[in-house]
Symmetry: C2
């Protein structure tokens, strides 16, 4: 039985390392790519290299950027008295897209997870503390899993003596969802976080 | 609201042109790639270019290959008296993987589809006719949709005066499936194609 030519096998194995691309998808993509226009493949390869080379992390907030400091940190229209703390650089994009936050961001670079060997000193917490001057409120926008909760609690405790308000984004029912799709813990959070209707 | 840096936007748009990659997947892949190791991204870009440059179509059978003729056509252990006719170069790989066919292949490059402007002369039928010397049986392994059926019928009619047997792969229940999942047409084909139990 003849097998696939080597260059295709190598391409399949490279593609298979991407998140969400299983062996079948990798094969389908590779076979599509070797049969598509040469110019299109070249363009894809170039955008890959260009994006990887030109994008880095902002020295101040830790988000993805082409320039130092990033567009958000250098935007004079953002409110400088609130800081939104997120886990990853991608979270910055998602929160910013929502349009509900006008302040500045701070990327932690992960969450405290002793089982995976991530201790508080592995995160950008010291960098966060050095940015507190003039900040009135820190909004913790971390995940709702155990490690996200632990990181939120740790940060709230560590930051409380700095004279800033530390808040946490609400946990509850997601938009457009019904009670029948919510798990018990989400309902517990939603009930605990109830607010009086004005 | 700040948007994503340009190189990422360009990468997302390149990735979004791949089959099965929607806007959300493209964004997730792009953000993963700009944050992953530089070496890994470089390797992916290189395998892309290498595969596209080195892979072409076999001049004889039309399948994907690095060399001319392809590994299948130049394999002296394949039976030269049967030809399996398939639609695409990828079908060759799938039929060959099954291990059930030991002869040679011929890729049509599509199926007759007047609505999409594909006429018989757009397919590799003349090339097929030029390969008939010494061939005893032509197995048509085309799709079971209307266009695949029409192409099978057209080929059977056109090839029958050449003194070769023209057969068609069986249509029926797929392996591991129950009657409850089969549509009416599949059952019609399965009943029509019934064989006496020996």
């Amino acid at each position: 039985m003849a097998s696939l030519p080597d260059p295709i096998t190598r391409l399949i194995s490279s593609l298979g390392q991407l998140p969400g691309i299983g062996p079948r998808s990798a094969e389908r993509l590779a076979l599509f790519l070797v049969q598509s226009e040469s110019g299109q493949v070249k363009q894809l390869a170039e955008s890959l290299l260009e994006a990887r080379e030109r994008i880095g992390f902002c020295e101040i907030c830790g988000s993805l950027t082409e320039s130092q400091p990033c567009g958000l940190c250098s935007d004079s229209e953002r409110e400088t008295h609130t800081l939104c703390v997120v886990e990853t650089a991608v979270d910055v994009i998602n929160v910013d897209k929502s349009g509900a936050f006008k302040g500045l961001f701070h990327v932690l670079g992960g969450k405290i997870s002793p089982l995976n060997g991530v201790e508080p000193e592995d995160l950008r917490i010291a960098e966060l503390e050095s940015r507190l001057k003039g900040v009135e409120e820190i909004i913790l926008a971390l995940g709702t899993d155990v490690e996200g909760e632990a990181t939120s609690n740790y940060l709230a405790l560590r930051l409380k003596d700095n004279g800033v308000t530390v808040s946490r984004i609400a946990h509850g029912l997601p938009a457009g969802s019904g009670l029948e799709y919510a798990d018990d813990l989400t309902l517990v959070h939603a009930l605990e976080g109830r607010r009086e209707v004005q």
